[in-house]
Symmetry: C2
Subunit: 472 residues, 2 copies
C-alpha cells in the first residue's frame, strides 16, 4: 500500500518526493521539543500550487493522511508526522508575487520566512505587523496556520488582523480563493478568518494577501522598569494599560527568567527576586508617551530608565529576546502559552507561584504584558515531559480559564493541548468545530488527530496520528 | 399549523409574542427600500437569552423559519420577513453588562444602538471604532451580523477587528460561547470571526465582548479639497493613501452628490462638475498630518482648505453626513456598496461614468475613499427598482470584481445580492459555505434563502423566504 502511494507520488512529482532518512527524521519533530516515535512515509517538497494539488489528489484517492509543514518551528506539535503520513512541505514556495504600496498589500507564497518578507517590504517603506518570536525562522504560511502573535499585538494586532485573502487547496485538491483585496468586504462567510489559526486542518495555504502598514516614522523610545517582585511588575503593566498609554511593546520577565538571561549574556546578576518590564513606544509621540509611562511605573513602585537611543534600546530588548536561548540552556523546555485579560495578570502570576509551591517546581515566566499572553516555562532534565509536569500544566491551564483566559494565545493546540480543547470550548462547540472541519475535508485526509482527537488521547506528542476519525 | 405554532409561542413567551398589524407590517421591510409582499407570522420581542432559546426550540420542533431582526436598518434585505416566518427581535436585549477600561473591553447585549453604547463608553473615556452611517439607529447585534464598516475603517478597522467574543444561540436553541476575553487567543477554530458578517444564518447573537479603544486625544483637523472632476478627486485620495498618510476619515463626493446636498442644506451650489474630498486627521499629530495631506492634495490639483476648529470641522463633515437624506429626497434609492483596492478608485469612477452613459442614467456616488468602499446610488421614481436598473447594477458589480474588488463592502448580501454571490466566490466556495451553514443549522431554520439561494432566485426582495433548502 505505502509502496503504491510512493510510486504514484514519484510519478507525479519526481524528485520532489523525498524519502531520505534526514528528511523523514526532521519531519518527526518541531520546536516544541517533542517528536513522533516513528517517521513519516515521505516528504513532498511542493514548488507550486499544482504540486500541492497533485499530492492531495493522490492522498485523497489512496486514503493517505497529509501533514502540512512550513519551517517546522511550531511549538504545539501540529506538524509532527509519523507512520503512514505524507508530509507536504511548502518551504520551497517562497515567492513574493506582488507588493502594492498604494494599496498597502502584498501577495506572497506561504514558504517565505517572516523576517525575509520584512526585509523585502522595508525597501518599500512597508511592514507586516505580526512578529512572532520565531520570525527569523518561521514562514508566513505557518504564521497564518497558527494565527501567530508576537510582541506588537496589543498595538498592531495579530495575524487575524493582518490577512485579507488566502488561497487554499482543499483536501481533495480543489483550489479556493478566499477573501478579497479591498480593505472592506463582507461577501459571504469570512472563510479567510476561519483558516487563520486552523493548524492545517481545513486546507493547504498556497498564497496569502497580506494587509501592510507603513513603517512607523521616527525612532522608538525604550523604558526599562525593575520591581522588587513579579506581582509588582504585573501590577505596573496593568497600570500602564489602564492609563490609556499604547506602547508598541510591553514585555515582562520574572526573576528566574531575568537571572537566566543575565547569566547567558554574562551581565551582572539582578538583585534577588527582581522582575523587569521592557517597554517601547513608537511613532511621532514616542518620547511624550515614554515619559507618561515612566511616571505610571514610578508611581507603581518601579525603578525606571528611559532611553531614546535606538542602539541602547535594542541592547535592552536583547535581554528579552534571549529568553528562549536562556531557557533551552537549562534543560528540556515546555513553553506554555496561556493568555488572560490584562487586568488578570497579577492574579495569574499568583496562580503560577501557587503551582510552583504545590508541585515543588520552578516555572520561569515571561509575558507579553501588553496583551496578557504569558509563556510559563516548564524545564526538566529528561528528554520527555513527565506526567507530573503535565499535571502542573493542567493546573495552569485551568487557572488561566478561571481567570477568563484561554489555553493558547499564539502557539495553537496541535497535538500537545488536544486534551483540554473541549474543556474550554464546551462539548457542543467542540463538536460543531469538528463538523466544520468535516465540511472542508470529509475524508479526513488533512492532519487527522491534530487539534481535535478522541477523548482517550494522551496529552503527549507520542501519537500525532491518533486520528479522531477513520480514513477511507 | 400556523395557529399551533402561535399557541406554543404564546404559551412559552406570553405577550412578547406580537401579532399586531403594526409589528407585522414593520417586519416586512428594512432600510433598503424593499419589502416582502407578505407579512410574517409573528414578531417575538425577546427579552433574554432564554426567550431566544425558547423561540428557536419551538421553531425547530415545528419546522418554522426564523428571521433575526435588530433595528431593521439593513440595506440588503436580510431581515425582511414574509409568510410563515417568525421574526425574532433582539431589540429589547439592550443591557451593557460590563465595561472594563483596564482590559479595554465591554460585554453587551445585541439590541443596544451603536450610538447609545458610544455615549455610555464615552463616560469612561472609551469608544468602539465601528461607525456605520446608521450608527444612531442600528444595533450592535446588527453591526456584527452584517460585519458593518463606516467612515473610520482604514485607520481603525471594521467590526471584524473589534469583536473578541460572541454568545450565539444555535438554531436548535443551544447556547455557545465563542471567542475569548483576552487580546490573543487561538484555541480551536475562530468561530467568532465566522459569525461576524454571517447575516443571521449561523445563529442568534445574544451577547458580544467588544474590543475597545481609548478616546483619541486632542481635536481633529479637517481638510476639504475640491477638484474639477470626480476622477481627479479619486486620484487625489489615492495619492493621499500612497503618501503614507493615515487619515481617520477620507470621504469622496461626486458632483451630483455634492450638488444634491448643497441644495438640501440650502448652501450655495458648487461649480459645475466639482467633486469634493472631506478628510479628518486625529491624535497628537493631527495638525502635522493635515498639512502633509493638504500638500499632497494641492500637488494633485485640488483647491484645499484646512481647519483645526472642531465646530467648523463638524459643519464640513455635515455635508457628507447629509448624503443619504439628500438622495432619499430625489426618489426611491438603491444604495450600492462595492469595494475595490484603493488604487482602483479612479478606474472604478471611470466604470461608473461608462455605465451612466450606456444606460442613460445618473449614479450619484459617494465613497469611503480611505478604504476603497463606494456607494453608488441608483435613484428611480417608482416604488420598486426596475429590471433595467438591476442590469446597470449587475454591470457595476462585474466592473468592481474585474478591478479586484467585491460585491459588498459593508452592507451584506441579504436577499438583494444573492444572485451574484456564487460568481464572486466561485461554485466550489459557494457550496462549501452552504455546507458550513448546514453544520450550524442542519434543519435550515435560520433565515432560509438569505445570502444563499437557488440559482433561479430573482434579484429583488419580493421573495425573501425563497429558501435554498426545504425545512423539515
Amino acid at each position: 500500500m505505502n509502496a503504491a502511494v510512493l510510486d504514484r507520488l514519484r510519478t507525479a512529482l519526481g524528485d520532489r518526493v523525498d524519502t531520505t532518512d534526514a528528511a523523514l527524521e526532521a519531519a518527526r519533530a518541531d520546536r516544541s521539543g517533542h517528536a513522533s516515535p516513528t517517521a513519516p512515509l515521505a516528504v513532498v517538497h511542493a514548488e507550486s500550487t499544482s504540486d500541492v494539488q497533485a499530492t492531495l489528489r493522490i492522498a485523497q484517492e489512496t486514503g493517505t493522511p497529509v501533514v502540512v509543514r512550513g519551517a517546522g518551528t511550531g511549538l504545539a506539535g501540529a506538524a509532527i508526522a509519523g507512520t503512514g503520513e505524507i508530509v507536504l512541505s511548502t518551504l520551497r514556495m517562497r515567492r513574493v508575487l506582488e507588493i502594492r504600496p498604494d494599496d498597502l498589500l502584498a501577495v506572497v507564497e506561504p514558504g517565505i520566512l517572516n523576517a525575509e518578507l520584512d526585509a523585502v517590504l522595508a525597501e518599500h517603506g512597508l511592514w507586516w505587523p505580526p512578529d512572532p518570536a520565531s520570525r527569523d525562522i518561521s514562514t508566513i504560511g505557518g504564521n497564518i496556520a497558527t494565527g501567530a502573535g508576537g510582541l506588537l499585538c496589543a498595538k498592531y494586532g495579530a495575524v487575524r488582523d493582518a490577512v485579507l485573502a488566502v488561497d487554499l487547496v482543499l483536501a481533495d485538491g480543489r483550489l479556493l480563493h478566499l477573501g478579497h483585496r479591498s480593505v472592506k468586504g463582507v461577501t459571504g462567510l469570512d472563510l479567510t478568518s476561519l483558516v487563520i489559526g486552523s493548524e492545517g486542518r481545513l486546507g493547504v495555504i498556497v498564497g496569502a494577501t497580506l494587509k501592510l502598514r507603513r513603517v512607523v516614522p521616527g525612532a522608538p523610545c525604550t523604558i526599562v522598569a525593575t520591581f522588587p517582585a513579579v506581582r509588582d511588575a504585573a501590577r505596573g503593566s496593568a497600570a500602564v494599560t489602564a492609563s490609556g498609554a499604547e506602547p508598541a511593546i510591553m514585555e515582562l520577565m520574572d526573576a528566574r527568567c531575568l537571572a537566566a538571561v543575565h547569566a547567558l549574556l554574562e551581565l551582572d546578576p539582578p538583585a534577588d527576586g527582581v522582575a523587569q518590564l521592557t517597554i517601547q513606544t513608537d511613532g511621532r509621540s514616542a518620547a511624550v508617551e515614554a515619559e507618561q509611562i515612566a511616571a505610571v511605573l514610578r508611581a507603581a513602585g518601579g525603578t525606571v530608565t528611559v532611553t531614546d537611543d535606538p542602539v541602547r534600546g535594542e541592547e535592552l530588548l536583547r535581554i528579552r529576546r534571549s529568553m528562549h536561548t536562556a531557557m533551552a540552556a537549562l534543560g528540556t523546555t515546555l513553553i506554555e502559552d496561556v493568555s488572560v485579560p490584562r487586568s488578570a495578570l497579577p492574579a495569574m502570576f499568583d496562580e503560577i507561584a501557587r503551582i510552583e509551591r504545590e508541585y515543588g517546581i520552578e516555572i520561569p515566566t515571561v509575558a507579553h504584558a501588553g496583551d496578557g499572553n504569558l509563556h510559563p516555562n516548564f524545564i526538566v532534565q529528561t528528554p520527555e515531559i513527565p506526567a507530573r509536569i503535565w499535571q502542573a500544566a493542567d493546573d495552569l491551564f485551568r487557572a488561566a480559564m478561571r481567570l477568563g483566559g484561554t489555553l493558547t494565545g499564539e502557539h495553537g493546540i496541535g497535538t500537545l493541548k488536544r486534551r483540554w480543547l473541549a474543556e474550554e470550548l464546551g462539548e457542543d462547540q467542540w463538536q460543531l468545530q469538528r463538523d466544520i472541519v468535516r465540511a472542508f475535508d470529509p475524508a479526513g485526509v488533512l492532519a487527522p488527530g491534530r487539534v481535535f482527537a478522541h477523548r482517550t488521547t494522551e496529552p503527549d506528542a507520542a501519537a500525532p496520528n491518533n486520528a479522531e476519525e477513520p480514513h477511507a
